[in-house]
C-alpha cells in the first residue's frame, strides 16, 4: 500500500484534481443553478417620469413554473430609480433575484424619452457584457410598461414573440436592423443618424390572435390598461445626435428603401393608370430584385451622385375599375407605356425620399461615407466651403436613373 501511495505521490495532477474537488467540488454540491439565481429577462422597457425625475424600468421576466410541459409564463416587473442601473437594482430586489440580461431581445423606449440624448439613457445597457449587441430597440407612443404588458400576453399566450414581430419588421419592412449596435453605429458614425421602429399601442375589441394585456382579465371599471394591441404600421423615428429628429410613416420608409442599396424588396403602386387594357386601375408591383449603383462625380467642386436603380418587378395585383381582366393577354401584358409609368413613379418616389432627407438633414443612406471614400480631398474641400457642414445634402446634386424589367 505504501509503495502504491508513494508512486501516486509522483503524480502531482492527481493531488491537484483532489484539491480542486475538495475546494470547489464541495461548494458546488450546494450551489444552485444559475437559472435559480438570475431572473431571465426577455424585454426591457424604459419610461421617464419627469415629475419625479426618475426612470421607470419594466422588465418582461420569464417566471418558471414547475410543470412537465413546455410552459412559458411571463410577468412584467417595474421599478423606479434615479438612474437606469439603480432602477434595475431595485427590480432585482422586487424579484428576489439578480437581473440576467443575457436573453433580452428587445428594449422598448417611450416616445417622451426620445427628446433626451438616447446614448446617455442607453449607456448602462450598452456597457453590459451580457446584453447582445443585436438586441432590438423599439419606441412606442404608450408607456413602455403598457407595451410590455401587451407583449406579455403575446409571448405567454402564443408562439409569436414580440422579438419575432420586430425581426420580421426589420427584414421585410425596412432596411435597418434597429439594434443597439446599429443605433450606436449611426450615433458615432459620420452622419450621426440612426433609425428606430415605432410601434403603437391601440385599444382593441377584436377577436383572434391579438396581444391582449393582463391575460384577458377584464374589469368593467378599468378597461384602459387592458385589451391593448400592438400595431405595426412600418413607422420609424429618425435620430440625429441621439435625439429624435423626425418621425416618418411606413410610406415614407418605403421611399427611403428605394434609395437604400441594401434593401431589395418592397412594392410599387401605380394609381389611376389607364391604357388599352386597364381603366383607372391601381396596379401593385412587387419588387423581385433591386440593384442600386452609386456613381460619384465632381462638377465645379460640387459632388454629383448618380443613383442608378435596376428593378425587376412582377405585377402582383391589378384593381381595375371594371373588375378583373378576363383575357390572358391583358392579365400578363406589360407594355412600354406601363414600364415608363413605373419608371416615372420610382423616380418620383426616390426624389421624394431625397427631399425628405434634405429637409430634415438626415443622411440615412450614408452618402457622406460614399463621397468621403470616393475622394477624400475633394469632399473635404467641398465641406469646407459650406456655411453649415451639416447641410451638405442640400448642396449635393442627385441624378436618378431607373431601369425597370417586368418578370
Amino acid at each position: 500500500m505504501t509503495s502504491f501511495l508513494k508512486s501516486l505521490a509522483k503524480v502531482p495532477m492527481f493531488w491537484v484534481f483532489m484539491a480542486i474537488c475538495l475546494i470547489y467540488g464541495t461548494t458546488s454540491l450546494g450551489m444552485p443553478a444559475e437559472i435559480d439565481r438570475y431572473a431571465i429577462v426577455t424585454a426591457v422597457g424604459i419610461d421617464m417620469l419627469p415629475e419625479e425625475e426618475q426612470y421607470e424600468i419594466s422588465l418582461l421576466t420569464f417566471i418558471p413554473i414547475a410543470e412537465q410541459g413546455f410552459a412559458e409564463t411571463y410577468k412584467v416587473v417595474s421599478s423606479k430609480g434615479r438612474s437606469i442601473s439603480e432602477a434595475i437594482d431595485f427590480a432585482g430586489l422586487h424579484l428576489g433575484r439578480e437581473i440576467g440580461l443575457s436573453h433580452v431581445k428587445t428594449v422598448v423606449l417611450n416616445q417622451e424619452i426620445l427628446n433626451e440624448n438616447l446614448s446617455k439613457i442607453l449607456d448602462y445597457l450598452s456597457r453590459s457584457e451580457h446584453l447582445v449587441s443585436s438586441t432590438k430597440l423599439v419606441t412606442t407612443d404608450a408607456s413602455a410598461k403598457e407595451f410590455l404588458q401587451a407583449a406579455q400576453s403575446l409571448d405567454s399566450g402564443s408562439a409569436i414573440k414580440i422579438s419575432e414581430l420586430i425581426n420580421f419588421n426589420d427584414e421585410y419592412i425596412y432596411a435597418t436592423d434597429s439594434s443597439f449596435e446599429s443605433f450606436f453605429k449611426g450615433y458615432f458614425g459620420p452622419t450621426r443618424v440612426s433609425v428606430m421602429p415605432f410601434l403603437t399601442l391601440k385599444s382593441s375589441k377584436s377577436e383572434g390572435l391579438t396581444a391582449v394585456g393582463d391575460q384577458g382579465e377584464q374589469n368593467s371599471g378599468e378597461q384602459s390598461a387592458q385589451s391593448k394591441e400592438i400595431v405595426n404600421n412600418g413607422d420609424a423615428i429618425i435620430f440625429k445626435d441621439g435625439k429624435q429628429k423626425v418621425m416618418i410613416d411606413g410610406i415614407d420608409m418605403k421611399k427611403l428603401n428605394l434609395v437604400h442599396g441594401n434593401f431589395n424588396i418592397g412594392t410599387i403602386v401605380l394609381e389611376n393608370y389607364s391604357d388599352d387594357h386597364f381603366d383607372n386601375a391601381t396596379l401593385t408591383f412587387e419588387i423581385v430584385e433591386k440593384v442600386m449603383r452609386y456613381r460619384v462625380d465632381y462638377q465645379n467642386g460640387i459632388p454629383v451622385v448618380g443613383l442608378s436603380s435596376r428593378l425587376v418587378v412582377t405585377l402582383s395585383e391589378a384593381e381595375n375599375q371594371q373588375g378583373m381582366v378576363a383575357k390572358n393577354i391583358e392579365f400578363d401584358s406589360v407594355d412600354q407605356k406601363m414600364l415608363e409609368a413605373i419608371k416615372q413613379k420610382v423616380k418620383n418616389l426616390m426624389g421624394e425620399a431625397i427631399v425628405l432627407m434634405r429637409d430634415n438633414q438626415v443622411d440615412i443612406c450614408d452618402f457622406y461615407t460614399l463621397l468621403h471614400n470616393h475622394n477624400k480631398r475633394e469632399f473635404s474641400h467641398f465641406l469646407s466651403l459650406l456655411d453649415d457642414q451639416n447641410d451638405y445634402l442640400n448642396r449635393i446634386v442627385f441624378k436618378v436613373s431607373v431601369d425597370v424589367f417586368v418578370k
Binding site: I20, C21, A33, T42, Q68, A71
Partner: protein
C-alpha cells in the same frame, strides 16, 4: 526402486489430494506402478492405452514397458520433474527394476466449445471465440495462418499457478524488439498466480498505474489474426478466453470487426458516430452541469425555459441531482452484470420505472438531467472495450464541470490528451495515427478505405515489413 515408497512421497508432495490415483501391476519379476491425477487425465484412454497393454506384458523390462505404451505421447523424465508432469496431466510409469520414469501425456479436462463471444457480436463475419483451453486457442489461431510465419513461444507465469502463456507473432512482420520486451516483462512478472489474462496487463503496461488502457484485448481469433497481420504480438494465456495484443493504440477500440465485413463507406460513417458518441459520453454530463451552474447565458431561451420549468421543484442542487442519477445508472449496470438472467427483466422494469418515470413524477429528478445522463451512459457502450475508462472520465469531467465550469472541462480535455500523447507503449504513440499525424495510417483510422487500397501496414507500429503484399513493390 521401491514403487510404493515413491508413490507415498509423491502423495505427500501433492498434500494427499483426493484426486491422486495410483495403479500397481504385479508381475513375476517385479512391479509396474502408475501414478496420475484423475481430474486431469483421460481415464478411458489411460485404461485402453496404458493399463491394459501393461497388464498383458510378461516382463517389467523398461524397454518393453516403453515400447508397449510408445504409441502415446511418451517422454523420459527425471525424478525432480515427475510431480510437475503429474500436475500437467501426465501419467508417470515406473518399474521396480529401473530408476527411470516415463511420462505419458493424457491431459484432458472439460472445456467450452468455441462459440460467439458475448462481448463481440457481429452481423457478418466469423462467430468463433477463444475459450479457456490453450490448445484450442492455438488451434483457432493456427488455422488462420497456414504458413511458417506464425511463431508460438512458450512462457510460464505465476509461482504457484505456473500458468502457460504463449507469445504469438508473425516472423518478418512483428518487431523482434517488441517480442523481446514482452519476454523480459513476463520473466520479471513477480506474481503468485495468473488466473486470467488481465492479470498480465499491469506487467505488460509501461505505466501500470495509468487509468488509460495500454494493452489491447480480444475474444475473437479473426480480430487477433488481423492485429497480428498489422505487426502486433499476441499473448495467449491458459484458462483465459481473452487474448492480449501489443502494441496498443487508442484508435483500435474505435475500430470494430464489423467494419471489415461491411461496406467501407458505412464503416467510415459508423466510426465517425462512435467518435461523436465517445465525446458525448465523456463530456456530456460535465458540459451540462457547467452550463447549468456557471454559463446559463449561453443556453438558448427555449432550452432555458424547459430546464427552468422542469427543475423548479427538484429538492437537490443540479450537481447532486446529476451525481445521484449517474450513481443510479452505475448501480443498475452492476446489478445487470451480476443478476441471474431470470431476474433481469424484473430489474430492468424496476430500474426504468424508478428512474424514468416515478423519480421524475415524484419531483426528485428532472427529465433533462435523466436524458443527458442516459444518453451519456448509452453512448459509452459504442466502445465497450473502453467503458471502464469512459465511466471514470465521465465522473472526472463531471467534477471539473461543476467546480470550474467550461474552463475545467476544456482544461481537463487538454490535460487528458496531453497525457495520452505522452504514452508510448512498445514504441507506438498512444494516439496514432492522429498524433503524430501519419497520413498512410489514416486509411484505416476514422476513414475506412476499401481493403484493396490498404496495401501498407500501420507505420506507427514499427513493423519490419511495411508492405502487406508484393514485397517487390518496395
Amino acid at each position: 526402486m521401491n514403487v510404493e515408497s515413491l508413490f507415498e512421497n509423491v502423495l505427500k508432495t501433492l498434500n494427499e489430494s483426493l484426486d491422486v490415483a495410483s495403479r500397481l501391476i504385479e508381475k513375476k519379476d517385479g512391479k509396474i506402478g502408475m501414478i496420475f491425477l484423475k481430474s486431469m487425465t483421460d481415464n478411458l484412454l489411460f485404461s485402453k492405452a496404458v493399463f491394459e497393454p501393461l497388464s498383458k506384458l510378461d516382463s517389467i523390462e523398461f524397454e518393453k514397458v516403453k515400447q508397449c505404451i510408445e504409441p502415446n505421447d511418451v517422454e523420459l523424465v527425471g525424478k525432480d520433474e515427475i510431480v510437475e508432469k503429474i500436475i500437467n496431466g501426465a501419467v508417470i510409469v515406473v518399474t521396480s527394476k529401473s530408476e527411470q520414469f516415463l511420462a505419458v501425456d493424457l491431459l484432458k479436462f472439460a472445456t467450452r466449445v468455441p462459440s460467439e463471444p458475448p462481448t463481440s457480436p457481429v452481423l457478418m463475419g466469423p462467430r468463433e471465440g477463444f475459450v479457456e483451453d490453450l490448445k484450442t486457442n492455438l488451434t483457432l489461431l493456427r488455422r488462420r495462418f497456414r504458413s511458417q510465419s506464425l511463431v508460438l513461444e512458450q512462457a510460464s507465469v505465476g509461482k504457484i499457478t505456473k500458468t502457460q502463456v504463449v507469445i504469438a507473432y508473425l516472423d518478418g512482420v512483428a518487431d523482434k524488439n517488441v517480442v523481446k520486451k514482452i519476454r523480459k516483462k513476463l520473466e520479471k512478472a513477480d506474481i503468485d498466480g495468473v488466473v486470467d489474462s488481465y492479470y498480465l496487463v499491469s506487467f505488460l503496461s509501461d505505466r501500470p498505474r495509468s487509468i488509460l488502457k495500454q494493452v489491447g484485448c480480444s475474444e475473437k481469433p479473426d480480430i487477433v489474426a488481423a492485429k497480428m497481420l498489422e505487426g502486433r504480438v499476441a499473448v495467449i494465456v491458459d484458462n483465459s478466453p481473452i487474448v492480449l495484443t501489443v502494441p496498443f493504440v487508442f484508435f483500435e477500440d474505435i475500430q470494430n470487426s464489423n467494419d471489415y465485413y461491411t461496406n467501407y463507406a458505412f464503416s467510415t460513417f459508423m466510426r465517425v458516430i462512435r467518435v461523436f458518441a465517445f465525446v458525448m459520453a465523456v463530456l456530456g454530463p460535465g458540459v451540462y452541469i457547467a452550463l447549468q451552474l456557471f454559463h446559463y447565458n449561453i443556453l438558448p431561451i427555449k432550452y432555458l425555459i424547459t430546464i427552468a420549468d422542469s427543475t423548479q421543484q427538484i429538492p437537490f442542487t443540479p450537481f447532486i441531482e446529476i451525481l445521484f442519477i449517474s450513481l443510479l445508472f452505475q448501480i443498475l449496470y452492476e446489478v445487470s452484470l451480476r443478476l441471474p438472467s431470470y431476474l433481469g427483466m424484473a430489474t430492468s422494469i424496476v430500474g426504468a420505472l424508478i428512474l424514468g418515470d416515478t423519480g421524475v413524477k415524484a419531483g426528485l429528478i428532472s427529465p433533462p438531467s435523466v436524458i443527458v445522463v442516459a444518453i451519456a451512459k448509452i453512448a459509452l457502450y459504442t466502445i465497450p472495450e473502453q467503458s471502464a475508462q469512459i465511466t471514470i472520465a465521465q465522473f472526472v469531467f463531471l467534477m471539473l464541470g461543476s467546480s470550474l465550469g467550461l474552463l475545467g472541462v476544456v482544461g481537463g480535455a487538454i490535460y487528458m490528451i496531453t497525457y495520452a500523447n505522452s504514452l508510448e507503449n512498445f514504441g507506438a504513440p498512444y494516439l496514432a495515427p492522429f498524433s503524430p499525424f501519419v497520413l498512410s495510417d489514416n486509411k484505416d483510422a476514422l476513414l475506412k478505405v476499401p481493403l484493396a487500397n490498404m496495401n501498407k501496414r500501420p507505420l506507427s507500429l514499427n513493423n519490419k515489413n511495411v508492405y502487406r503484399c508484393n514485397d517487390d513493390e518496395k
